[in-house]
C-alpha cells in the first residue's frame, strides 16, 4: 500500500479550511502550520497576480509531499524520519534529536521546529490555562515509534503525517474529510482501481519541483483556467 493524494486546483476555492482543520486536529502550536494555502504569484492570499494578458488567481495548498525519494529522510542522522509500510513519511518524536538537517533538506519548506515547549507557546499567545485541542491521544506505529502526540516536545521537528492517527483506522486525512469543495482525493497509489488512480489515468497530475527527483506522492491537477 502506498498512500497518495490528488488536489484538483480547479476545484480549490482557497478557503484555507484544510489548513485550519489540520492545525486543530493535529494540535499545532501557535505559529505552526503543517498545511498552507498560497495564491501563486501573489504576495497576498486571494489577491490576483499580474499575468500574461491580464491577471491570474488560483490557489495552491502545500503540505508534506510524502516523497518516494525523500531528502529529509536521507539526511536524518538518527533515522527518526522514515517511510512506513503505507508510504507515509513519518517522524519518531522520541528519536528526533532536533539537528534540523531535514528542515534545510526539504525543498518544500513544510517541516517545522519546536523551538519551545508548545504549552509555553500557547500560554504566551494567551490561551486559557488547561485549554487544549486536537486528537488527544499519543499514537504509535507497529514498532512502537511515537508518530503523533498532542504536545510535541521542545526540540523536535514536525510536519503532516497524512493524519496517521486517522488513516491507521481507515479514515481519510482531515483535510480530505473537510474540504468543502471536494478538491482533495486520498487513496492507494498501488491499487489500480483506487479513485486517485482512476483520476490520474484520465488527467495528468503534476508534482511540485518534479525536476528534483523527489517523486512526491501528492499530485496536483493544474488549473485549466488561471
Amino acid at each position: 500500500m502506498r498512500y497518495g493524494m490528488v488536489i484538483d486546483l480547479d476545484l480549490c476555492v482557497g478557503c484555507r479550511t484544510c489548513a485550519v482543520v489540520c492545525k486543530e486536529h493535529n494540535a499545532q502550536a501557535p505559529g505552526t502550520w503543517w498545511n498552507r494555502v498560497f495564491t501563486p504569484g501573489s504576495k497576498y492570499h486571494q489577491i490576483p497576480a499580474e499575468a500574461e494578458g491580464g491577471f491570474s488567481m488560483y490557489y495552491l495548498p502545500v503540505s508534506c509531499m510524502h516523497c518516494e525519494n525523500a531528502p529529509c529522510e536521507k539526511v536524518c542522522p538518527v533515522g527518526a524520519t522514515y517511510t512506513d509500510e503505507r508510504g507515509r513519511v513519518l517522524i519518531d518524536y522520541e528519536r528526533c534529536i532536533g539537528c534540523r538537517y531535514c528542515l534545510s533538506a526539504c525543498p518544500y519548506g513544510v517541516r517545522q521546529f519546536n523551538w519551545e515547549d508548545p504549552k509555553g507557546a500557547k500560554a504566551r499567545a494567551g490561551y486559557q490555562e488547561g485549554y487544549s485541542y486536537g486528537y488527544p491521544f499519543p499514537h504509535r506505529d507497529k514498532e512502537g515509534r511515537l508518530v503523533y502526540t498532542p504536545d510535541r516536545p521542545k526540540g523536535v521537528v514536525e510536519k503532516c503525517t497524512f493524519c496517521v492517527q486517522y488513516t491507521d483506522k481507515g479514515e481519510e486525512p482531515i483535510c480530505v474529510q473537510s474540504c468543502p469543495a471536494g478538491a482533495r482525493l486520498f487513496g492507494d497509489l498501488d491499487d489500480p482501481n483506487s479513485r486517485i488512480n482512476q483520476v490520474l489515468r484520465k488527467e495528468k497530475g503534476e508534482r511540485l519541483l518534479e525536476e528534483l527527483g523527489t517523486k512526491p506522492k501528492v499530485f496536483y491537477l493544474p488549473p485549466k483556467r488561471k
Partner: protein, 188 residues
Amino acid sequence: MSRPAPLEAAAKFIKSGRIEFYREEETFRRSGESLPTHKRPFAESEYALNPSVRGKYRLAYITRNSLYRIHSNHSNNLWMNELEDYRPKVFLNPTDAAERGIKDGDLVELYNDRGRVRGQAVLDPGQGPGIAIFEQGWWSRYLEGDSYNALTYPFIKPTNEVYFVPGIWAPNTAWNEALCDARKVGER
C-alpha cells in the same frame, strides 16, 4: 427541490407576494424608482448631505466581509489573525495608490469628515478604480482604537422604509454609501 415561499408569507414583505418590478407607493413614485433605475452614486446621499465633499473625497468606501471572520466574530481568534499576519488591510487599485504616492505595504489611512481607519496597503490589480476596501469586523483593539464604522453614517434609503416587519425587516444603514480618501501615514 426548492419551492417559492407561500404567497401569504411572502405578502408580509411584498404586497403581491412575489418579486415586484413595478412599485407604485408614493415614496417610490416621488424618488423616481417605480421601475428599476440606475442612480448616480452619492448624488442623494453624501453629495446631498454636504455638497462640499464632492471631489474632496474621491473613493467609495466599501467594508466587505473577510475570509477570516464572521462579521466581527473571531476578530480575536489567534489562528485567523496568524493567517493574515495580524494586519488589518486597506485594499486599493494600483492606479489610485500611485496617484497618492502609496506603495504596497505602506501604512495607510482612510479618512473623511467623520473619522479615520488605518491599515496596511494591499494593491489589488483586479479591484476597480475609485474604490477603497476595508474588511469589516476588526475590533478596535486591532485598529489603534479606531473603528471602520467611524467613516460610515446612518443613511437610510427612503424606499427601504415602505415595508416594516418587526424583528424581520427593518430599514438599515446603507453601509457602502460612504466616501473617503486615502493617504500614506507610514512606511512598513
